[in-house]
Symmetry: C2
Subunit: 437 residues, 2 copies
Amino acid sequence: MTARITSLRTYDIRFPTSQELDGSDAMNPDPDYSAAYVIIGTDHPDRHEGHGFAFTIGRGNDIQTTAISALEPYVVGRPLQATLDDLGGVWREMVHDSQLRWLGPEKGVMHMAISAVVNALWDLRAKRAGKPVWKLLADLTPEELVDLVDFRYLSDALTPGEALDILRRAEPGKVEREAYLLDHGYPGYTTTPGWLGYDDAKLARLCKEAVADGFTQIKLKVGADVADDVRRLAIAREAVGPTVRIAVDANQRWDVGQAIAWVRELARFDPWWVEEPTSPDDVLGHATIARAISPVRVATGEHVQNRVVFKQLLQSGAISYLQLDAARVAGVNENVAILLLAAKFGVPVCPHAGGVGLCELVQHLSMFDYMAVSGSMENRVIEFVDHLHEHFVHPVVIRNGNYVAPTSPGFSATLRRRTLVDYAYPDGPVWTEVPAA
Amino acid sequence: MTARITSLRTYDIRFPTSQELDGSDAMNPDPDYSAAYVIIGTDHPDRHEGHGFAFTIGRGNDIQTTAISALEPYVVGRPLQATLDDLGGVWREMVHDSQLRWLGPEKGVMHMAISAVVNALWDLRAKRAGKPVWKLLADLTPEELVDLVDFRYLSDALTPGEALDILRRAEPGKVEREAYLLDHGYPGYTTTPGWLGYDDAKLARLCKEAVADGFTQIKLKVGADVADDVRRLAIAREAVGPTVRIAVDANQRWDVGQAIAWVRELARFDPWWVEEPTSPDDVLGHATIARAISPVRVATGEHVQNRVVFKQLLQSGAISYLQLDAARVAGVNENVAILLLAAKFGVPVCPHAGGVGLCELVQHLSMFDYMAVSGSMENRVIEFVDHLHEHFVHPVVIRNGNYVAPTSPGFSATLRRRTLVDYAYPDGPVWTEVPAA
């Protein structure tokens, strides 16, 4: 009997984070970090399941969950091994379904739903292979990796042949890099000190703790009030000293002209990059800002909808750092494309993380990049936010400011069973015991 | 007692159009034209309801309907008159809800859901005012119109002051233009001949009928096979003669280099514009194509997600024609912004239509543009596709190739009660009697 995928179950999981102002920024004053969560089951006797999710910040997580459920017919009933062996084909089938495509195309709720399912399939494949996803990917041949990628709309910037060349150039030294990675981990930076809702004393204390913990870069939220930002940056710079990098993050708060003026006010504190200065859709705006605020660098990506927009950000010289997100574009496959694009243009990838489980996911992508694509950690850091890791079976481990390479099989995406019960929305005990907002 | 909005009801309505290959193109071989439909009710004794919808092409229409239902708390319970008097404020509340925004931002399923609700509110306002939407909008003052627009992310291209100037310049001559519009209507063009699924004889016959019906422009779908396209364009050019404009539409089928090569093959048939040559997200790609294929012109817009992408298409000189869609961006308010942007850059707006009810909606936007924004019909045509109009209470009327200005109050969006029953998916009689695909 051929083993098959037999179920796709979804869960609307929400954490009442707005009560503590964790995660507060200029655009998102009161997020309730949430996961539209999916578990893919099989009838194979190994009983492995694939776990994945889309991250949202509260309202609308039900819509996101509905969209994931709608993908059930694309997954359930398929032969297990053949499906996992052809995740490039499965990806194309879902993304290019001619009717579903109309709901994006390749953006928003429908694309994030595909992300959750694709990442769950990668989790399942890695668990069955007994490897973490970063290692599973790094062990694929250049040809197998290229086959995962959809080059539609990319060929003016990256062809399959160029992608193969990039991957082949990274083959030598893999063994040494793996040893280095397992010994040292991968550099992180922390956003924990910088949420807008924190008072000055808490900011200063958390900045000092970050340095003591070994981080060489921190990040502050900005963009609500320029005088506040000047004051908070002065406190942070004083607290961390001149050599620790301070990134600032405006979370799309500004128009183009306003971004340029605002960053010039902050420039004396030597911010390392300014993140999401304006709409994530505004490629030309980002390029204009980048030219105007140099040597301060522009970073963006957490809300960039797909590889086509990343392509343009790179083509136009708009970004010095590319911040991919594990669960907004359509999962591992599209992120392989994005890592290849970044390598082609020589732009370091510093993933967006935080939220629910994004640190857990993106560590695999950066470590794969180091192993098999860019082959470098130079100027590369993975965002770290110390929220909600305790809900995961295999939470990230940070040591001296570095992400320790995960060795458990899978994508580190599995939430604890207890969490799926307690934080279920709206009927879980955490929500039935909290007064309605 | 203050009258209130008391209900928001949704309907998953699908038409089995794939059975006839109506609407077949290179990217959408078998669409089932669908509407995620919404009716907003009140407790006012006038019993008017607001009707709106998002258009999809089949699978996923349930997700779209769910997303519209999620907006109920933003509408139901509000005071009726105050809400309709402040549709700029209502728009901002829904689009900038900090949690829902994460699902886009401002794109895809969530944005289209807002479109349906916003357009339904405009339908309700116009019915209560006893005017068609085009007239209701044209009768607003420049200040009232500017207040409908969210200028966030636009100010590097269009400021509120510039928008006011554009609207004030269009004030003189309104009375004359209204008389002209009511007498002559607004020029249309027809896509009816050009679907990919039609054979050569049907193509030739429909081309001749289009000219006989008074159309001065037709459109052909292209992009599946270049030899087929050359043959079909030759047939069409022969059938319509040298002066009727033939637009071609690739429905996003090509990469940038491929688009340029393909259009050069077709150039000898003098295509008026090439529509959606590549990904709707690829601003830089469209600009590259536009430079390379001139004097053939580039048109796009039906899948452009929001005003920020339209802004860039205009800033980069990528498009000669802007094809707004009534129900993909967030409804009337965002389309007022887009009309103003187009006027600022001097680019004619030729709306996308067809599908379910899109002709019914966009006619109001073009007529408003003529009355109060661009003040011109020059080089402007509204797409016409002769599908599914019979399901609307006030279907569009085409006379000698022109859209007759609608005079019934509202947005012409009201589907017949019988259609809501018969085409309900999956339980309506049309679907229970059709064999599953």
